[in-house]
């Protein structure tokens, strides 16, 4: 990690403890901000948060390790979470899963080498009447069919790289 990047992370955490507070109750909201902006919660981030909240970093680690929406490892810019619970399973989530793996060239639990996409399983997303369902970051897609997978991925790809320039989108 570059020094400048560390400084930025430290500044961010200081800002969040300023708005969210330094009580233990603020721990998860702060970690969610770190996750949202930095894509993961690194050892360094956990140490800084622990210092700010005056708790042991192991306490922070124990919390991060518990929740499935908090991650130690860097995730892709788009995290795709496919619901694997019963109703989506019965509605045909397996074929959607296969197509996602085929189109991205990775398996569930992995991130594409370009760091753009992560594929994860999710427990019930609460879209059981409209399965199979998946989340792309916070956005929900329902009644997903294998042929829709390409469209969903393209919608993501349009926001970065040459596509973004062509579309004058929010390119990075």
């Amino acid at each position: 990690m570059l020094v400048t990047e560390r400084e930025r992370l430290k500044d961010d955490i200081a800002t969040w403890t300023g708005t969210l507070g330094k009580d233990r109750t603020a721990l998860i909201p702060i970690l969610q901000e770190v996750q949202r902006k930095h894509g993961h919660i690194s050892d360094f981030a956990m140490q800084v948060v622990a210092d700010q909240l005056d708790i042991h970093p192991v306490e922070v680690f124990s919390v991060v390790s518990f929740y499935s929406f908090l991650n130690f490892e860097p995730l892709g810019r788009y995290v795709i979470r496919l619901c694997q619970t019963i109703s989506c399973d019965m509605a045909g989530k397996d074929r959607v899963a296969t197509q996602l793996e085929n189109d991205l060239g990775i398996e569930f639990g992995e991130t594409t080498p370009d760091g753009k996409f992560t594929l994860q399983w999710a427990s019930c997303l609460g879209m059981c009447d409209q399965g199979p369902a998946l989340l792309v970051n916070d956005r929900v897609y329902t009644k997903v069919t294998p042929d829709m997978v390409h469209e969903i991925l393209e919608a993501c790809r349009k926001t970065f790289g040459v596509y973004a320039l062509a579309n004058k989108g929010e390119g990075h």
């Binding site: 998860i28 124990s62 518990f66 929406f69 694997q84 019963i86 427990s123 019930c124």
Partner: protein, 392 residues
């Protein structure tokens, strides 16, 4: 997100904030007495009488008390709270405000599951509008001296946090591991202060009951399960979605309404509920018979029940918090047995032993998750044994 219920819910007939204004004109004890008289029971699944819970919290002595709305709807097959929060968020916040007045709290917290993050901007907008209208903040709705506000805290992806003490642990910034009970949250809750934790639907019914009266609510349903209930229906049926029925409806009647005739079984109460075979479709959905937080999953005639059991146990093995041994180690053993059945290498004796383990988990686990996780497996073994044995 579009609501998927097929008919308008009772909630859409409730005049906004009329119940709150009525409540603020009542004495606290009369208000709680009204809720108690309606015999409203918790709509999240556990079915604890709301009036009793509020009375305990109101009687507790403390400088500060809290109202928590459990919007961590994680039970497989449940999505009614998503629809309520989308279409009737005002009613939920109104119910929370009534709760605040009833027990003497100044702060309300909505614990919203991470999977519903997309709902947050909508909910924040509704809260902001309520503040502008003077329905939140100092002197709520002109009631001198009653201050109450609501904030939203996001969950971070853990099914067990739907259990109220685990939810409180999570709100406090800890791992979502359930606490020993007693003490109960009504006297030792969030930050060790008296706290009422109620389901989204329960709060919406509270506001409705205040507006329409306890008698109106009590006139519907059965003697021991009063009122209406929202059901989340999914699986092998032609019309999945959210439905509202009086408590005490039979499984058969419900299946007819949702286009699920011909089903061979129905899972009532989600993964932690029970699997009811076709021979028992005459049973009623009520706290005294088959109880549910609203999840109804229909299994058609061609559905492989072993696959169903497999899916449920994968879910529990993943979502067990790992704190107590029966649940942490029991669920993987049950899952392993399902895999053995699938491979055709499970003896009848071993299956019987594993069912014994399931029964042990029901009594020895610390919280509702481990106590109820073997339910589906045990009921599938009981009713569909012939389908499970001799594979391979």
């Amino acid at each position: 997100m579009i609501a998927t219920h097929t008919a308008p819910l009772t909630f859409s007939t409730i005049e906004k904030d009329a119940g709150l204004k009525k409540a603020l004109g009542m004495k606290r004890s009369d208000l709680i007495a009204e809720i108690t008289a309606s015999q409203l029971k918790g709509r999240g699944g556990a079915g604890f009488p709301t009036g009793v819970k509020w009375n305990l919290a109101a009687a507790a002595q403390a400088e500060q008390k809290f109202v928590v709305c459990n919007a961590d709807e994680g039970e497989p097959g449940t999505f009614k709270d998503r629809v309520i929060l989308t279409d009737h968020a005002d009613l939920v916040f109104e119910g929370m405000t009534i709760g605040g007045y009833a027990i003497g709290a100044t702060e309300g917290i909505v614990y919203l599951r991470a999977e519903y993050t997309y709902l947050r901007p909508h909910l924040e907008a509704v809260l902001a509008a309520r503040r502008t209208k003077g329905l939140l903040g100092a002197n709520v709705a002109g009631k001198a001296g009653f201050t109450f506000d609501i904030r939203i805290q996001m969950g971070a992806g853990a099914y067990v946090c739907g259990e109220e003490t685990a939810l409180i642990e999570s709100l406090e910034g800890h791992r979502g591991e359930p606490r020993n009970r007693p003490p109960f949250p009504v006297d030792t809750g969030f930050l060790d202060r008296p706290t009422i934790v109620n389901n989204v639907e329960t709060f919406a019914w509270v506001a409705s009951i205040l507006f329409k009266g306890a008698e109106w609510f009590k006139a519907v349903g059965t003697q021991r399960s009063t009122g209406f209930k929202l059901f989340s229906v999914s699986g092998d049926c032609t019309k999945p979605g959210v439905y509202e029925f009086p408590m005490g409806i039979t499984v058969a009647r419900l299946l007819e309404a949702v286009g699920g005739e011909g089903a061979k079984a129905v899972q009532i109460g989600g993964a932690s509920g029970h699997c009811i075979p076709a021979t028992e479709f005459g049973r009623t959905i009520a706290f005294e018979d088959v109880s549910t937080g609203g999840s109804i999953i229909v299994f058609g005639p061609d559905r492989d029940m072993l696959e169903v059991a497999h899916n449920f146990l994968e879910f529990f093995a993943e979502e067990s918090c790992g704190q107590c041994t029966p649940c942490r180690d029991g669920n993987p053993k049950l899952l392993e047995c399902v895999e053995m059945l699938d491979n055709g290498v499970c003896s009848a004796q071993y299956l019987q032993d594993i069912c014994g383990l399931g029964e042990t988990m029901q009594v020895a686990s610390k919280c509702g998750l481990g106590q109820s996780s073997p339910n589906a497996f045990l009921s599938i073994v009981k009713h569909f044994k012939g389908e499970l044995m001799g594979r391979g």
